[in-house]
Amino acid sequence: MQFAFTEDQRAVVEAVRELLADSCTPADLRRQLAAGEAVDAGRWTAIRDMGLIGLCAPESAGGLGLGMVELAAVAEIAGYVGLPEPLVELAGVAVPLLAGLADDRGWLARVLDGAVVALGHPADPFVAGADAADALLLDHGGELHLVERPAVSLVRQQSFDPFRRLFRVDWTPTAATRVGTGWGQAADRGALLGAAQLVGIAQRAIDMAVAHAGDRQQFGKPIGSYQAVKHLAADAQVKVEFARPVVHAAAAELPLGTLAARARVAHAAIAAGEAAHRATRNAVQIHGAMGMTWEVDLHFWVKRALALRHAWGTAADHFATIAERIDTLPTGADLTFASAMAVPG
């Protein structure tokens, strides 16, 4: 039992934090948006050069051979900085899917080499970033199809989040596009990594609110010295503190694939979603009218929080998973960890 990152894990995470803190500031986001670029070329190259896209790919395939624990920590940072590029989805969902295919038609190697594969999974009617993708993994009746970009047509669906370039994808499934019989753990990975991003988003919203509250004066003192403002920030922080360990545990347990592990992912998704909701909501309140505007940076995180919350399953879906776990597995003080639960069958 060692519920902590190793030194190696810490080092990877710190390197990513530095890279993204430097290259993905709010000013960068605004510049990228003004330029209409889905991907910031310099940042994306640096991310690829660090090997992050292959973080979870086997070393034999040219990846780093790390796991969901490391990637969840990276995803939290991606949420914190508001990363527009599809690093998390590529590294955490597309790459494991491709790596699990009998015949990936060369796409795993291409992705590790810089190609982008977008995801049209069953939980979401739209595909994010489809226009900038080289290929798409698409769902057809639960089966997995791999389709190259020129073979689909796209209809843009405007999202509240300007960095979420959503599309309806029109395409024709054929025997030739079919590459797998199912999505495996993709939905769980997506939900977990969404949760990790939401924790980062929540923390960023709190940090921005705290900075504003220390600065903004009303009635002759900083608004952050008022108890009501303090408690808005503190309540959000409590939510974050009790969502983050759940995300970490879900990342560590996800490979088990058991109901207990899936319930942990669902718990992480709910807890992180609510933390991000509470934190962005309270941050808007602390910012006052400023928080409603395009001029203050907070809105980027408000939008991402809304978009990610349901992107890999709704709260209702996640509650259903937890209800199933509570109904069919025992509960008790000695059964905290999924590893303590007898594996069915």
């Binding site: 939980a123 979401d124 009617p125 739209f126 209809v155 843009r156 669906q157 405007q158 999202s159 509240f160 989040d161 979420r164 959503l166 309806r168 004066q217 009303q218 009635f219 008022y226 009501a228 403002v229 909501r281 808007v284 309140q285 006052g288 009218a289 928080g291 409603m292 505007t293 395009w294 001029e295 809105h299 408000v302 939008k303 809304l306 978009a307 919350r309 349901h310 992107a311 709704t314 709260a315 209702a316 509650f319 259903a320």
Partner: protein
């Protein structure tokens, strides 16, 4: 306690309903916070309302109204929202400045401004807040310097809703050298006066809901001061009471939103957990509770009562209700919640997202809910000041 409408009230409802059915535009008007065209479309609607003498039904007939009591005002509002009529572009005028002018204005001011207001000829913006004065309105620093029969206005206003396209604004200004609650006056000024510069502030979704107003030696006649010189704080607090309390948020708004919420829920309930049903029921209950409370308050006001600190309980309740009901809707929409209503596949996404963004502002403006809770604790419950 009679909770039935009289035959006369029912007849009035029928009259409003018939007019609305004949006149409410079939398609929604374009936003009044995005383009001049949208703004003018809403002005045209205000003019049409005024032709039917529906501009502000509680005002005296000679000022463009119908002299009706508050119960009929509620009935009018119910039918207005039921008909899906456009949001009132002149709400700063008719709901805030109007009642204030009715209380503090001179006969000349009333005759000059109110009929044009009811007719949509003058659309009003409010200009209270400043960069350093939000919840702390006594921190206003913009000045009005008396110069003969004129005031010379200088300073900067912010969060002025409608100010991007509006005709007139009313704002708080202080005598140079005065401090806090003293020495302030409420002054009306045309937004196209020499020395006025407006800078739109984009809301997070791009709408230009607010503007900053810069005033550089703007000259206005002393006659355009509302209320006594130096009595701006008192006048302004009366307006704030209207804003928080009765007028700005008629219950019909929420009841109609709940009607749409129930319809949305029905379309999706097969795949939704029962807890969503309970949240829908809570929104339904809260909208009704708000309506009942306002009806009771109007009955009391008609009997000669006054609005007190309950304008603060109202404000907290409607702002939290508004957020909660939009949040249920977004949770029902799930992965489609992030879509704008104009996305090609938006389906029944409607304007829930838009309404949610608007609702986010509810606990902030018209005095933040934190300030309202202080007011309730201190003025309603008698707890000591902090």
């Amino acid at each position: 306690m009679i909770l039935e409408y009289t035959p006369e009230q029912r007849a009035f409802r029928s009259e409003v309903r018939a007019w609305m059915e004949a006149n409410v535009p079939g398609a929604p008007l374009p936003s009044f916070d995005l383009t001049r065209e949208g703004f003018e479309a809403h002005r045209a609607w205000e003019r049409k309302l005024n032709e039917g003498r529906w501009g502000m039904v509680t005002w005296p007939e000679e000022l463009g109204g119908r002299g009706l009591d508050l119960i009929r005002w509620l009935i009018f509002e119910e039918e207005y929202y039921r008909a899906g009529a456009p949001t009132r572009v002149n709400q700063n005028g008719i709901f805030l400045l109007g009642p204030t002018m009715m209380e503090f204005g001179t006969p000349e001011q009333k005759a000059r401004f109110l009929p044009r207001m009811a007719a949509g000829d003058d659309i009003w913006a409010q200009a209270w807040s400043e960069p350093g004065a939000g919840s702390d309105l006594a921190g206003v620093r913009s000045t009005c310097t008396r110069d003969g029969d004129d005031y010379v206005l200088n300073g900067q206003k912010i969060w002025s809703s409608r100010a991007v396209f509006a005709d007139w604004a009313f704002g708080l200004f202080r005598e140079p050298g005065s401090e806090r609650h003293r020495g302030m006056s409420l002054i009306l000024f045309p937004l196209d006066a020499p020395g006025v510069t407006r800078r739109p502030i984009r809301r997070m979704d791009g709408e230009m809901v607010f503007a900053e107003i810069f005033l550089d030696n703007v000259r206005v006649p002393v006659a355009d001061r509302l209320g006594g010189e130096g009595e701006g704080w008192k006048v302004c607090m009366a307006t704030a009471g209207f804003e928080r309390g009765l007028l700005l948020r008629s219950p019909a708004r929420y009841q109609e939103a709940v009607r749409r919420l129930v319809a949305l829920y029905r379309r999706h309930r097969d795949r939704l957990p029962a807890s969503i049903g309970e949240r829908v029921a809570r929104a339904w209950m809260d909208a009704d509770a708000y309506a009942l409370t306002i009806y009771q308050m109007c009955s009391r006001l008609e009997a000669g009562g006054q609005i007190g600190p309950e304008s603060s309980t109202n404000k907290i309740f409607w702002s939290e209700l508004d957020l909660a009901l939009h949040e249920v809707a977004l949770d029902i929409l799930g992965p489609r919640a992030e879509l704008h209503g104009f996305a090609p596949d938006a389906g029944d996404v409607g304007d829930w997202l838009d309404g949610w963004i608007f609702a986010l502002a509810g606990p902030i403006y018209a005095g933040s809910n934190e300030i309202q809770r202080n007011i309730i604790a201190e003025r309603m419950l008698g707890l000591p000041k902090g």
